[in-house]
């Protein structure tokens, strides 16, 4: 039986509260009640997920900067830390020290709430993604649906933030976010449907375990992978689908009016969503953490963190493809995005669903011709 993240947290909280109950005077002896242990365990899980994903997102920014540098024949951040690894932490520290400024005409509630909700919902998804055998926050039979549902909250908060900032560029950016939603949401879900058809489950754990048995879904569902990746690019608003940000036309897009730590939060959330997008691609199509079995990897498999590391390697490779796309392609217009979404992606994803259904009819994963 492998230990899960939640199990570790529960043990930790048991230990903490138990010690506390023993040390404290008898009046507070009840602190190690099962309910309190449970509550602290949940908080610990949250903190662990928060810390790891934040650090991961920041390192992802470094990864993007370095890759983008090479794509542009330069080096990217070089100075702070090894090969500029700490540059983003320094940047974050700098933004942290900035004076927060609110536009005079802004609707303060929406203005402050939007980045917080944007960040919080993006973090919430990570509560459903199994990252490794030992890093499963919890078991949810509908985790895939849940993750996708929370993932598509963000445009709403972007729109609220953009509207409350009371700046025309922000508003245009926010409007674009809403318009963009129509273009990618349908092919995205169709691509997911094909995976669900093959596994017969909405549980990410099952999806991954099936892939460990039957091989990556990227092979039979290569069309689905492409559609899903393109839709994810639009979902996380990365170039070439970064219409809501569009620095060249809209100053800084929907977050024009955000400065200091609020800007850092939106920026970090952008990358957090990039991270989640890469996670989802790896989970759904690229076979999650299990290492390829073989004599070479045998010692690695026994290494406790091997699963997490292997998973992260895949995630970083997927993100490198995002960066590659960013370095190569120009931003599309809104009408072009809708054309890509409706005229190309939806037919392709439908084709993919039909193909997946055909695979199931032919008895995936042990294909045979249907007996007539």
């Amino acid at each position: 039986m492998t230990t899960t993240l939640y199990g570790v947290a529960q043990g930790l909280s048991q230990l903490l509260l138990g010690t506390l109950a023993r040390v404290l005077p008898s009046a507070l002896a009840g602190v190690d009640s099962p309910g309190a242990v449970e509550a602290l365990a949940v908080i610990i899980v949250g903190v662990i997920i928060l810390a790891t994903s934040m650090v991961n997102a920041i390192v992802l920014i470094w990864w993007e900067r370095k890759l983008l540098g090479r794509f542009m024949d330069r080096r990217g951040a070089m100075h702070v830390g090894f090969a500029g690894l700490l540059q983003n932490f320094a940047d974050g520290l700098k933004l942290f020290r900035k004076q927060p400024l609110t536009p005079a005409e802004a609707d303060r509630l929406g203005y402050y709430l939007a980045p917080a909700a944007y960040l919080a919902t993006s973090l919430m998804i990570l509560g459903f993604l199994p990252i490794s055998t030992g890093f499963i926050p919890g078991v949810a039979p509908l985790s895939l649906l849940m993750a996708l549902a929370i993932f598509s909250f963000a445009p709403f908060f972007i729109f609220v933030g953009a509207w409350s900032a009371n700046n025309k560029y922000s508003l245009i950016g926010g409007m674009r976010t809403a318009a963009q939603l129509v273009a990618y949401e349908i092919p995205l879900l169709f691509a997911v449907v094909s995976v669900v058809l093959l596994t017969g489950s909405f549980d990410l754990n099952t999806i991954v375990m099936d892939q460990a048995k039957d091989g990556w879904f990227a092979l039979p569902l290569v069309l689905g992978l492409i559609v899903f990746t393109v839709a994810m690019l639009a979902e996380v608003e990365r170039i070439p689908f970064d219409l809501p940000e569009a620095e060249a036309e809209l100053v800084e897009g929907w977050n024009t009016e955000y400065g200091g730590m609020l800007f850092a939060m939106t920026m970090l959330t952008d990358y957090l969503r990039g991270l989640v997008a890469s996670y989802l691609i790896v989970l759904l199509f690229l076979g999650w953490w299990p290492l390829p079995a073989g004599p070479l990897t045998a010692p690695l498999v026994s290494f406790p963190l091997a699963g997490i590391l292997w998973f992260q390697v895949k995630v970083y490779v997927v993100f490198a493809v995002f960066v590659w796309i960013r370095a190569s392609l120009p931003r599309v217009r809104t009408d072009q995005l809708l054309q890509i979404g409706w005229k190309r992606m939806i037919p392709l994803s439908l084709l993919n669903v039909v193909w997946a259904a055909a695979l199931v009819v032919w008895g995936w994963p042990h294909l045979r011709w249907p007996s007539v």
């Binding site: 890759l67 540098g69 090479r70 794509f71 542009m72 024949d73 330069r74 080096r75 070089m78 590659w324 796309i325 370095a327 190569s328 392609l329």
Partner: protein, 278 residues
């Protein structure tokens, strides 16, 4: 034929105006379309660039690496094709100035020619109680145009290949003559000195009627090329009043004159002027 107010023909306005053959326009190139030219080709180009710069991007990691490092000796070549040697950049690089305070004649030409007014003539201790005015340069203002070193008639103000002038304070950016003398003595690669002067330059001319023989020009001439020559004192006719003056007149040794204009600016009667050139 219809014309507008300026008499320019208004094409096609009047009936029956011959319009000439129709202008041939090249049809606009068709917009690239398709996955190959819109996605695959740019991505392949980017990938090629990525692979090319994986080992070494074009950028030089400046504070850690410099162009003059031996690594780049074979990579960077001057216009003549010769590779740059160690510790050397282009010999016509316009960097920090080098000043030979021994040969400076305090002619002010560098100060006058500076477009950014960053040169000030300051008293410089030459040792032995002797001082002279030498240029002091504020690199906070200098645009490294090189006009000053071009103007220097003695070739004592030149520019070197030293480009590291970053400082923490603004006052450190002001280089005193002594500091530039130290740069001179450090034997950095220097710009070639151009002393060639244009042919038939204007020279200093004298309006003899105005001169009062005050000796100011000869006193201040940095090259001491002005000599005060005696001129005969005319005998006054009865009733005529001779002007109050010293009966001497400046003569300029044209070979030695560096055209600094000091004499013109110190003359109290404005009797010296430029002229005689082509």
């Amino acid at each position: 034929m219809a014309t507008d107010v300026k008499g320019i023909e208004l094409a096609g306005k009047a009936k029956g105006t011959p319009t000439g053959p129709p202008v041939k326009r090249t049809p606009p190139a068709p917009e690239p379309s398709g996955v190959v030219s819109l996605v695959a080709y740019p991505m392949a180009t980017a990938a090629r660039q990525f692979v090319r710069s994986l080992w070494r991007p074009s950028t030089i990691l400046y504070p850690y690496e410099r162009l003059e490092d031996p690594t780049f000796r074979n990579e960077v070549k001057v216009a003549s094709g010769a590779p740059i040697g160690v510790g050397q950049i282009w010999d016509n690089y316009r960097g920090v100035h080098a000043l030979n305070i021994r040969t400076c004649i305090s002619c002010n030409l560098c100060m006058f020619s500076c477009p950014d007014t960053c040169i000030e003539m300051v008293n410089t201790d030459l040792g032995g109680g002797k001082t002279k005015k030498c240029p002091e340069i504020d690199y906070g203002k200098c645009s490294f145009c090189g006009f000053c070193s071009d103007a220097c008639p003695e070739g004592c103000l030149t520019m070197t290949a030293s480009y590291t002038i970053t400082t923490h304070t603004r006052s450190e950016m002001i280089y005193s003559p002594e500091r530039m003398f130290a740069v001179y003595k450090s034997k950095l690669p220097m710009n070639p000195i151009r002393l060639a002067r244009p042919e038939n330059e204007d020279r200093i001319l004298l309006d003899e009627d105005l001169c009062i023989g005050c000796n100011a020009c000869a006193r201040d001439c940095p090259t001491k090329c002005i000599t005060m020559m005696d001129i005969p004192k005319p005998t006054a006719k009865p009733g005529e009043k001779l002007p109050r003056r010293i009966w001497k007149e400046p003569t300029v040794n044209d070979e030695d004159c560096v055209r600094c204009g000091t004499c013109i600016s110190v003359c109290p009667k404005e009797c010296l002027y430029w002229g005689g050139g082509k």
